[in-house]
Amino acid sequence: MTLSLVLVVAAALFSVGLWGALSQQVVVMVMMGIELMINAVVLAGGAFWWFTSPTPDGQVLLLVVIAAMTVEMAMGFAVALLLHRRRGTDMTDMAAELNR
């Protein structure tokens, strides 16, 4: 359980999230991909904290990243709801134009 191996796991999670975020058409599924990417960042942050500098500063950074994930989810759902109400769709392809 060295730092390099943990970072490889985090890289795998990040790549799975990136694949999902790029290939999915539904807005909420794209959000799930982004969640997986931020998840990987949290894991990598925790690994760096434990293996290189276990001071409280790193934990505060992880708290901020978790707060950022919460903000992303809340605004993402609000936008997805609004998109569904106005255009009756939940696909990102239909939301490609700003004016319609």
Partner: protein, 187 residues
């Protein structure tokens, strides 16, 4: 030793659940596969002696996945019966890009000479985190809190179907808001 076993099992579960999110046939299963991935990452954080953060990740992420499941069902209209669904675009380019990113990041992770530990961790990581948040990092918390408040207000404004003119009348002069379901406080 036990921590290493828990870590590797959680690592396999996290990545497998992450892949399951995009390969499964049911929206609820996709959402809860993501929840399983998050719980596994929380367990991995617990093996790093990040007690408070690991438990917080489990708590918040399960809560968020429960709400996300509601939105999935609402927007995509699935029923519990499993039906094959595949809504993807650009499958090949996405897979290629993700593969290249993984190879690059893993190479960097394995080849870069990372520094060793600067100092030993404090015995009570939760107390040191609390003291940092309330002491030297108070400004960080002061900045995060209006951001979270702005998120609440923004999400409600974007998500609410009726605006304040529909609820209070054209000149905002009504005594009680005109809501279809009245709350329990009697406002």
């Amino acid at each position: 030793m036990l921590e290493a076993i828990v870590f590797w099992i959680s690592a396999v579960v996290a990545v497998a659940a992450g892949v399951t999110v995009f390969r499964t046939d049911s929206m609820a299963r996709a959402t809860y596969a993501l929840a399983a991935s998050f719980v596994a990452v929380g367990l991995m954080l617990l093996t790093f002696a990040l007690d408070y953060l690991g438990v917080i990740v489990i708590l918040m992420m399960v809560m968020e996945m429960a709400i996300m499941a509601l939105f999935m069902i609402m927007l995509m209209g699935m029923n519990p019966a499993l039906m094959p669904m595949s809504m993807v675009h650009g499958k090949r380019s996405a897979a290629v890009i993700a593969g290249l990113v993984f190879v690059g990041l893993a190479a960097a992770a394995l080849l870069v000479p990372w520094p060793g530990a600067v100092e030993a961790p404090v015995a009570d990581t939760t107390r040191s985190l609390g003291e940092a948040v309330m002491g030297s990092k108070m400004l960080v918390m002061l900045t995060v809190s209006p951001v979270l408040f702005a998120t609440i207000v923004g999400a409600l404004v974007l998500g609410h179907p009726r605006n304040r003119y529909q609820r209070y009348g054209a000149d905002l002069a009504a005594d009680h808001p005109d809501d279809p379901i009245d709350g329990g406080v009697g406002r």
